[in-house]
Amino acid sequence: MAELIQIASDEDRDTFYLNMGPQHPSTHGVLRLRLHLKGERILSAEPIIGYSHRAHEKMAENRNYIQFLPNPSRVDYLSGMIYSIGYCQAIEKAIGLEVPERAEYIRVICNELNRISSHLLWFGTFLLDLGGVTPFLYCFDDREKILDLLDLVSGSRLTYCYGRFGGLVNDVTDDFLEGTARFCTAFRERLREYDRLVTQNVIFRNRTIGVGVMRPELAQQFGITGPCLRAMGMARDVRRDEPYGIYDRFEFDIPTRTASDCFDRYLVRIAEMEQSMRIVEQALAKLPDGPIMAKKIPRKIAPAKGEYYFAVESARGHFGMFIVSDGSEIPYRIHLRTPSFANLSTMRTVLPGTLLADTVSILGSIDIVLPEIDR
């Protein structure tokens, strides 16, 4: 893989370098892309990251396991609930703590609601990248309803800290349960509306079908996970392959497509929202009574000396936590394996040959969250 640091020579007068970002409307935060262009065609692309590096991993080494609890939801703020609860589950597994049934079910409901809200935001910003402003506002309107529900139980709109080692901080109210059921009904209707507004739109189809095809061999080479992988036809989902929590008790499909272009990545995510709602409805139906915190929680959270790995399926893919403990209350090292990091690194092979306008839609379609890449 030839590297990009080279100055265009004198004969090379009809190509130029374009620096896209870190402040650019469609790099989704503070990503910088260094593009080598000939006209509007991209010859090579190099993503430059680190503009949102906040030292989460160093912070983990400076505080104990409990104090690190607010951090995971800020690593990926769009699926904060999944990250935060995933971290709790990782520690629970490491110290062998049982979680009450009710808490497990509520965790699943909140995770899936969070997944829908994350996909909704992606949907809106993706359309915004393509120049369609209105769907963005529709999505935010629906997203607000989910945020209201999660706000009701956790107290925050974005960076949740709802899970605790051994359960949850609050029990859910009847308002939440009714609201969630109502939301699912209403949202199915909205999905049909989006289908009419966006999926059937001829401009949208022209802009996405056949654009940004990721060849299947890239999946193994780069370790692509999440909706991007499923758009390549591989039905891999951590929730199904190595079920964590109680995901093995639910019936849900793993939507896949085969063309692996922007349009397929879009369809996979739309289908995933549908599946998430299925899980939510099953969980609502089965939700048992009982406590939401484990009875015996050790005062000292200190996993035995050793190394632990725990993975969850975030809205963007495989999120893994590699925890090294030296037996004390302070982690020796926590490494976060984040999905977008791997997904974004494919850009240098996917982008060359496309047009500048496609760059924007391809970047939008892989759904990156910069602080999750930079940590």
């Binding site: 402040q23 935010f140 607000e144």
Partner: protein, 174 residues
Amino acid sequence: MKETPPPPANATTEELLTQLGPLVHLDVLENLLNQARARSLWPLTFGLACCAIEMMAAGASRFDMDRFGSGVFRPSARQADVMILAGTISRKMGPVVKALWDQMPSPKWAIAMGGCTIDGGPFKYPGQYAIVEGADKIIPVDVYIPGCPPRPEALINGLLMLEQKIKAGKKFHV
């Protein structure tokens, strides 16, 4: 009106001018412009981290910053009036933020949204190497909005406070 003492006989022209004050008073015009500026704050499309999502939410349907004339997000710094610093400023990003601030035409304002831009917020700890602890270390900030992240209502409140500040005719950052 306050009586001004007569200038000394051997005063230079420059001293005279300083003592007499401006010959032409532009206050009226300036006040009029301030009324317009306060009501038309176009933010820079610029998100750094988590708070950017709440900034987007503030512009979207339920909260709708456009009601106050602030819904026109300008992607180019040359056309923006207010920089909403939404999220953690990493050290790598610091110079970029400064450059963007310099590119904005005056009069311009900055809103520090969220704990990170106020003083480092949750990411502040002894030995932190990655972030700029507070936006005011690099650019002058007019309004601080605490929270992690602040709710969209808080951002709108911050914008209205900035409006009050501009209407009151405080001096601008050039």
